[in-house]
Amino acid sequence: MMFTLPNLFRLAVLVVLLAFLLQPAWFEAMLTPLVQENAPAIYNQGSLFWLTVLHLRTVFIATFAATVVAVSLAIIVTRKAGAEFLPLSRSLVNIGQTFPPVAVLALAVPIYGFGEKPTLIALFLYGLLPIFENALTGLTTLPPTVVEAARGAGMTGSQRLIRIELPLALPVILTGVRLSVVISLATATIGSTVAAKTLGEVIIAGLQSNNLAFVLQGGLIVAALAVLIHDALQGLERTLAGRVHV
């Protein structure tokens, strides 16, 4: 299981990524053909490693907050007291997802100014939607006999939620988190247009100075992060879902 071909490939991607982040000079020769004479082939206006850490930090904070809020909201609207909001919240999620992430980001700037704040807000707002949608799906499509049995066994509402409903909905919720993380990883790069410290800085510097090597390395780092995080979360989902077999 551990050493299948895809896993070896992922390991290789991880090793190359780490090597590139820690010792970018090793890769200089590969990137030099992409740049014009005398232009630097490796991003030189900051540490790639630190930009990656900051990029991941932004995505993590936004996703974590989005997960907490989205799952709480989904729990509220699937309880009896909040049931009134369920149809509306579905509509709002559908509407929200038609808003382009760039528009959310651009509209956050006038309110929150430049820097990390508008990016965090935009990522948070945009990240809410897939998590909320999936948490709703997870909590509303539980096998009815199981919920019925939990009630019949004398569990209180909160016992049912914590012992039965959330564990069963967890794989579907995680799918939402995964979608959200992948969208956020890419969208965070746009944050650099409003001066957030992310890997988008590398790409934008490349676009501005016509340096293809910058664009490529910025883009590939984000893509590699996205693929690795996506697959890791998917693996986790499968492990959980395997146990939850209904």
Binding site: V146, E148, A149, A153, G154, L168, R243, H245
Partner: protein
């Protein structure tokens, strides 16, 4: 004892259960039958307050079932449903331990109970305890479902079509098991089904429901002999009546002095099965033996045919 008094359930303008009164004697099996939409499941669910009645009272051992919170009530009453409803993310042992855990039993006591129940249902605790529900066959899942319902030693067990998802062979085995376990614990069982055969097989008393009302509440024999309404008559099945009647009584009750050829049949065999044996083997009488092998006499084709006739 369970007393259902003038219980009514309405959803908006639709009345699902209409003024039902029913008393269930302790340590008996009562089967509620009816077509789908007759209100039988709703009636059952009002006993453990999964559904709150619009009007009327349900008393368990003389106490109004609203005197304690619903969830506490349900911990005291066993509940088994069609399709078992096992928690897919918990092992068999954890599933069975659900109510004892909720009641805060000590670990040793819970474990001992789980082991006892698994053994009772012919499942090896070491093998089946750690398995997840999806690793069991349909029949095993159903048994675990019933074991879970019985884990906290409830006096009352409610069952909603518990055998509905099983194939015929496993179903009759499960019914035998249930009868044995009912004898073992002396549990008062109320079971809902749409299967008349199952009702006659298991019930001490049958309640027939139609359009939210109980149209007849009687012993199986009474129901065959004196169906209260044409609906009950249809449900019982006119062409099945003599066989159902024979199915209720045992050979022991029809035994007469005399001898007969061939292998004896046990006295606990139903008269219906004896008739079947008589017809199939082409004999006109069978020897009847007690459990210890002693020959008690014989049962004749003529006697059985007479017993199948409508009593006057």
């Amino acid at each position: 004892m369970i007393q259902i008094e003038e219980v009514t359930k309405r959803y908006g303008d639709t009345t699902v259960v209409n003024g039902v009164t029913l008393t269930v004697a302790p340590h008996t099996v009562t089967v509620i039958v009816g077509t789908s939409g007759s209100g039988k499941t709703t009636l059952l669910r009002m006993i453990n307050r999964l559904v709150e009645p619009t009007a009327g009272i349900v008393k368990i051992d003389g106490e109004d079932n609203r005197s304690i919170p619903g969830y506490e009530l349900r911990r005291r009453i066993g509940y088994a449903i069609q399709g078992h409803g096992l928690f897919p993310h918990r092992t068999v042992a954890q599933n069975i331990a659900t109510v004892p855990t909720l009641l805060g039993w000590e670990k040793d006591r819970t474990e001992a109970k789980v082991e006892e129940l698994l053994k009772l249902f012919q499942l090896d605790p070491a093998d089946f305890g750690p398995r997840y529900p999806h690793e069991l066959s349909g029949g095993q899942q159903q048994r675990v479902g019933v074991a879970r319902a019985l884990a906290a030693e409830p006096n009352v067990l409610l069952m909603d079509e518990p055998f509905g998802a099983l194939d015929p062979i496993i179903r009759s085995k499960a019914q035998e098991d249930l009868t044995a376990i009912q004898k073992h614990f002396g549990t008062t069982i109320i079971l809902v089904t749409h299967d008349m055969e199952e009702a006659f097989h298991l019930a001490d008393k049958i309640a027939v429901m139609d359009k939210g009302e109980v149209v007849q509440y009687a012993t199986p024999a009474e129901m065959l002999v004196k169906p209260a309404t044409p609906f009950v008559e249809t449900l019982v099945g006119a062409s099945e009546r003599p066989f159902r009647l024979l199915g209720i009584e045992t050979v022991g009750e029809a035994v007469e002095p005399g001898s007969a050829e061939g292998r004896p049949v046990p006295e606990v065999l139903s008269q219906r099965d004896a008739l079947s044996e008589l017809l199939w083997s082409g004999r006109s009488a069978l020897p009847v033996a007690a459990a210890n092998g002693e020959i008690l006499g014989r049962v004749t084709l003529q006697a059985i045919v007479k017993r199948a006739a409508r009593p006057r």
